[in-house]
Symmetry: C2
Subunit: 236 residues, 2 copies
DNA sequence: AAGTGGTCTAGACCACACG
DNA sequence: GTGTGGTCTAGACCACTTA
């Protein structure tokens, strides 16, 4: 159940898009009609529509109406801020995680250059190897501010770190800056991954921020290049 | 000057972030203070704040206040010495463009599979080669719905297609779904790009939609892997 | 002219954080 | 308790599109 009126309307519209009641490239009922249907103010209807528009599902056009965006032709997506586990579940893949490194470090100049954490901060450094269908294809090189993620253990890291941070510790994550590039594998990649002749890895650098603006995580995900996919929707 | 009150407030806050009046990890004035400063209703202040939050510049925290996000400039995040990456992110690059192919096609089954345009539609197919510092490093394989982009010419494509569509034709673009992968070069890549021994290309597939939901563009950008970089901010 | 979304007001009550 | 942001109302007027 939705806890607010606008989420109720949000879910109603979303459901009607998914089940084909509202068709792509066509209009949904006008804001005034929806306001009467739900007996709410127009602002509440607009809030629901704005949310769906930022999801890329709707588009408001002045004087015309609110259109349903044509369905995005990809349903096997990785990426966004989705964690490895969420992505795997959605794609029903078999995965295994191993953790060859779980250590505590103090940020020195070299680490500061790489992670952008302030020099002197205490951080956890974790390397996780992701095995999918019996092939080690992803190496996650994680750095977390210890102060923020206190209580994190290797067995939690085997599962989902984000699940722990958000649900167990109540940490509010605002979002993350991601930078993707393609580079030759480093020593750790060669040591831990099943490169199978691939001489390049796709690297996703991830700078994650708390709701108050603090940088609390830096992660480099090294993907075997032939197994790498990334997806995002960019509003114009 | 801004044409609406909320944009005025939006620009005011943004300016104060940029010039250091509002500092990262600290709070901006409360919604009630801003409402009095600008003599507007609280909803108008909230609209400005919501916009900046969706830009990733602010973050509202219930009961606490509105925080300025700490943002590390993207060019610092890259590190390394690769001047191309820094330059391309600063947008200070001069592309030289050549157009070996500019043709009109009817969508058949094979093209439908690749572009997702309806079978039977008339489309433009354009291949553009991007040369940077005398190296051909990007191949753009573009497909546009002819009906929408009518009037597009090769000389426009040399410059900026989007500038033409948005400013000259008044086309409203909602956004685009992007999918990134790494693959071996195809025959066209081998023919047109200076691969310099690189045996992989980074491919950005781009599905662009109009405001009414219509898919009007499909583009594959093939980047020589050592010159590829991609950046995005994802809200949680 | 009628209908649509875009902006804005001046309130209200609620939920959360902190001292 | 006080202050903060989160939700919501019941209007109003404006700007754009279509007929």
């Amino acid at each position: 159940m939705a806890k607010s009126r606008y989420l109720e309307i949000y879910n109603f519209i979303k459901e009607n898009i998914n089940n084909g009641t509202y068709l792509p490239e066509e209009k949904i009922p006008s804001e005034n009609q929806l306001k009467d249907i739900f007996s709410v103010s127009r602002n509440t209807v607009r809030k629901a529509i704005d949310l769906l528009a930022s999801d890329g599902l709707l588009s408001s056009v002045h004087g015309k109406g609110v259109f349903v965006m044509k369905k995005i032709p990809v349903n096997f997506l990785l990426g966004g801020t989705e964690s490895f586990k969420e992505a795997s579940l959605k794609n029903s893949l078999k995965y295994k995680t191993s953790i060859p490194i779980f250590e505590t470090l103090i940020v020195n100049e070299e680490l500061n250059k790489k992670t952008h954490f302030p020099i002197g901060e205490t951080i956890y450094h974790i390397i996780r190897i992701r095995e999918i269908s019996d092939e080690k294809v992803i190496l996650d090189d994680n750095y977390f501010l210890k102060e923020i993620v206190e209580g994190l253990t290797a067995s939690i890291a085997m599962d989902s770190i984000y699940e722990f941070l958000e649900n167990k510790k109540g940490i509010k994550i605002n979002g993350a800056q991601k930078i993707i590039s393609v580079e030759p594998p480093n020593e750790e990649d060669k040591k831990y991954l099943d490169l199978r002749g691939n001489n390049l890895v796709a690297i996703v650098k991830n700078f994650a921020y708390l709701d108050n603006g603090t940088l609390f995580e830096y992660t480099e995900s090294h993907h075997r290049s032939d197994k790498f996919v990334f997806s995002s929707y960019a509003k114009r």
